[in-house]
C-alpha cells in the first residue's frame, strides 16, 4: 500500500562507541513537505540526515524512506538512495570530471540512460541552477557556490523524490550562500520533498513547512516557522534563537 509519508523515523538511536549521538528520534516527513533541521553544532543534525540515506548506520529504531525500510542490505540501501538525493557540505564533486560528466556519470552507469538523454537532462538541470555556462569546467575551476549548485544538479540528475541537504551553505562565502539558497528555494517552490540541515534562518523562515530543533541528539521542538521564531515553546529553542538572531 502506498504511504503518503516520504520519510518515517521511529525511535531512532545511534551510538558512536560510548557517545550517544541520536536519542530516541521520531519524525515523519510528508510527501512534498520541506523540513529544516537546526540546532547547535554537535546536536546530531548531520548524523540524522546521513542516517536517512544510510551513509550512517543506526543501532535501534526504524527508518522508512518512500515505503522502503532501511537495513544494512546493499540492495535496500540502493533503493533508498535512488529515492533520496544528497547534497553535502563540501559538495563532494568528482575532481577529475567536468561538471557535465559529474552530472551524467551515474545516470548513464546506474540508471542506464543513453549518453544523449543523460546529457540533455544534465544540461536542463544545470541551466536550472544557472550552471549551464560552466558545464565543461572542472570543479577546481569553480567557486564554492558554483560547485554546490553543480552538486545539486548532479543529485537532481538521479531523479530523486526527496532531497537531503547536509549544511549545504556552511562552507561558502556570503555571496555564494545567496546563490545556493536561491536554487534551494526554487526547488522548494517546485514541490520537492526536502530535508535541510542548515544554519540559514532566513531560508528556514521562507521555505520551511516545519522546523525541527535538535539539541544533544534529541528533537527538542517541532514547529511551524512562524511559531518557532516568534514564540518557541521550549526554553532551549528560545535561547538558540536569541543566539542566532541576536546579532
Amino acid at each position: 500500500m502506498a504511504t503518503p509519508l516520504a520519510i518515517s523515523i521511529q525511535a531512532l538511536d545511534k551510538h558512536y562507541g560510548s557517545f550517544h549521538a541520536l536519542k530516541d528520534v521520531t519524525l515523519t516527513v510528508a510527501k512534498g513537505e520541506r523540513i529544516v533541521i537546526c540546532g547547535p553544532s554537535g546536536s546530531g543534525k548531520s548524523t540524522l540526515i546521513r542516517c536517512i540515506n544510510g551513509l550512517e548506520d543506526h543501532q535501534s529504531g526504524s527508518l522508512t524512506v518512500d515505503g522502503v525500510t532501511l537495513t544494512d542490505d546493499a540492495a535496500v540501501l540502493r533503493q533508498v538512495r535512488a529515492r533520496a538525493g544528497m547534497v553535502f557540505q563540501h559538495f563532494n564533486l568528482y575532481p577529475h570530471l567536468s561538471v557535465l560528466d559529474n552530472c551524467t556519470l551515474s545516470p548513464t552507469c546506474t540508471l542506464r540512460l543513453d549518453k544523449a538523454t543523460a546529457r540533455r537532462q544534465a544540461m536542463e538541470l544545470l541551466s536550472r541552477v544557472g550552471m549551464a555556462d560552466h558545464a565543461g569546467k572542472f570543479p577546481s575551476q569553480l567557486s564554492g557556490g558554483q560547485q554546490q549548485r553543480a552538486a545539486i544538479a548532479r543529485s537532481l540528475c538521479m531523479m530523486p523524490d526527496i532531497m537531503l541537504f547536509d549544511e549545504p551553505t556552511s562552507a561558502l562565502d556570503p555571496e555564494s550562500i545567496g546563490e545556493v539558497l536561491d536554487v534551494m528555494t526554487d526547488l522548494a517552490r517546485d514541490g520537492m520533498t526536502m530535508v535541510c540541515v542548515t544554519h540559514e534562518m532566513g531560508f528556514a523562515r521562507k521555505a520551511a513547512d516545519r522546523i525541527v530543533f535538535m539539541d544533544a541528539g534529541q528533537i527538542v521542538e517541532v514547529n511551524t516557522p512562524e511559531t518557532f521564531f516568534a514564540a518557541p515553546e521550549t526554553d532551549r529553542a528560545r535561547a538558540f534563537i536569541n543566539q542566532v538572531i541576536g546579532h
Binding site: 551513509l55 540502493r78 538512495r81 544528497m86 575532481p95 577529475h96 556519470l105 551515474s106 546506474t110 572542472f138
Partner: protein, 224 residues
C-alpha cells in the same frame, strides 16, 4: 668519447634497444600485476589482503640481484620439470628470466604506491559514490582508479626511473643491454670511457622517460 661510440655504434644501439624494451615491458607488465595487488592491499581484508601483504614484503625484502640469480640459475635446477611443463623455452632464456625478475620486483613497489594513493582518496569521494548509487565496479573504474592513478603518477614515475637503471643488473646474467655492451666494449679496449658512454645513454633514457611522465601528468591539471 664520440669515437668510442662511433666505433661500436651497432653495439650501443642494440644495447639501447634491449634496455629500452626491458624497461618498457617491465613497467607495463609490472603495472598490470601491481594493480590487483595494490587494490587488495588497500582493501586489506580477507585472504587477498594477506596474500598481497605477503607478496609485497617477500619481493621488497629480496635484493633484485638475488632474485635475478634465483630465477636464472635457480631455474636450471628444475630444467627437467620445466621441460615437462613446456616452460623451458622461457626459463632458459636470460632475457625472459631477467624480465620476470624485474616484473616481480617492480610490481611489489608499484602495488604499494597504488595502495597509498587509493587509501589517500578522501572519504567524501566514497560518500558521493554511495549517495549516487554507483556500483562498486563503476565507482572503481570511473572514479577511484582514475583519481588514484593521477595521484600515484609522481611516485610511479620515480619507480619507473629506478627500474630503468636497475635493468643494468641484467648484464650479469649475460644480457647485452647497455651495461652488457659497455662491459664487452671495455673488455675489448680496456678503455674506461665505455662506462661513461653507457652512463650518458642511461641519462638520455631517464630524460626521455621523465618527459613522457611530465606529459601524462600535465593532462591531469585538475589534480593540482
Amino acid at each position: 668519447m664520440l669515437d668510442l661510440w662511433l666505433d661500436y655504434k651497432d653495439l650501443w644501439l642494440s644495447g639501447l634497444k634491449v634496455t629500452a624494451s626491458l624497461t618498457l615491458l617491465a613497467i607495463l607488465l609490472g603495472f598490470v600485476l601491481a594493480l590487483p595487488i595494490g587494490v587488495a592491499r588497500a582493501r586489506n581484508r580477507g585472504l587477498s589482503g594477506v596474500l598481497a601483504y605477503g607478496y609485497v614484503n617477500f619481493f621488497r625484502g629480496m635484493p633484485l640481484l638475488v632474485l635475478l640469480f634465483l630465477v636464472y640459475y635457480g631455474a636450471g635446477e628444475f630444467s627437467r620439470d620445466l621441460r615437462s611443463l613446456g616452460l623451458w623455452w622461457f626459463f632458459r632464456d636470460a632475457y625472459y628470466c631477467g624480465l620476470l625478475a624485474l616484473v616481480l620486483n617492480t610490481a611489489a613497489y608499484q602495488a604499494e604506491i597504488i595502495r597509498g594513493s587509493l587509501n589517500g582518496i578522501p572519504s567524501s569521494i566514497r560518500e558521493a559514490n554511495a549517495a549516487l548509487n554507483l556500483t562498486r565496479w563503476t565507482a572503481f573504474r570511473r572514479v577511484l582508479f582514475p583519481i588514484a592513478i593521477a595521484r600515484a603518477l609522481p611516485g610511479l614515475g620515480n619507480e619507473f626511473i629506478l627500474l630503468l637503471k636497475a635493468t643494468s643488473l641484467l648484464a650479469i646474467i649475460t644480457i647485452f643491454d647497455l651495461m652488457g655492451q659497455a662491459r664487452f666494449i671495455f673488455s675489448e679496449t680496456f678503455d674506461l670511457r665505455a662506462y661513461y658512454v653507457a652512463a650518458l645513454h642511461y641519462l638520455v633514457l631517464v630524460l626521455v622517460l621523465e618527459w613522457f611522465l611530465r606529459r601524462i601528468e600535465s593532462r591531469n591539471a585538475w589534480a593540482a
